[in-house]
Symmetry: C2
Subunit: 83 residues, 2 copies
C-alpha cells in the first residue's frame, strides 16, 4: 500500500529562530502589524508500507534518524493512504 | 484582535525540488521505501487586525509581496483568532 506522510518539523519552544525573526522584521518594514513569526518545514513523503501502523513506525524513525534534530526540533506527522 | 495565521508556501507542481530529492535519496540510503519527497515551508505569524477579513487580506498580501515567489510558489493559509 502507498501512503502520503506529511511531516512537520519545528523548533522546540525557546529556541532562537533567526529566519522567523528576519521574516518578522521584513514584514514590519512593509507595515504589517506583526507580533511574531516562526518558521517550520514540511516534508510530503510518499512511501510504500504494509499497513498504516508500519507507515507510522517508518515516519517516526525517519524523523528521529534524519529529519529532526533532537536537540532543537519537535516534529509531528499525519498519514493517509493514497488512492 | 490578535490572529494566528499559518501560511504554507510550496513549489508549484512541476518545479524541480532539489531539497526534496536530496532528502528522498538520504532516506532511501537508510532503507526506507520512498517514492518521493517534496519540501515546503510554514510560517506561523501572529498579527493584529480589526477583523478576520482584514487578517485574511493581510495574509494574502504578505504572501504575494514577500513570502511566496509567484513564478514558482503556491501558497495557502489558515487564520484563527487567538484567545
Amino acid at each position: 500500500m502507498k501512503f502520503n506522510v506529511k511531516i512537520e518539523v519545528m523548533l522546540k519552544p525557546g529556541h532562537s529562530d533567526p529566519e522567523g525573526e528576519t521574516t518578522a522584521r521584513a514584514l514590519r518594514e512593509l507595515n504589517y502589524p506583526i507580533e511574531s513569526v516562526s518558521v517550520s518545514k514540511v516534508y510530503m513523503v510518499v512511501l510504500e508500507a504494509g499497513s498504516k501502523a508500519e507507515a507510522e513506525k517508518m515516519a517516526d524513525g525517519m524523523c528521529r534518524r534524519l529529519l529532526a534534530n533532537p536537540t532543537k526540533d519537535d516534529y509531528r506527522f499525519e498519514i493517509r493512504e493514497t488512492r
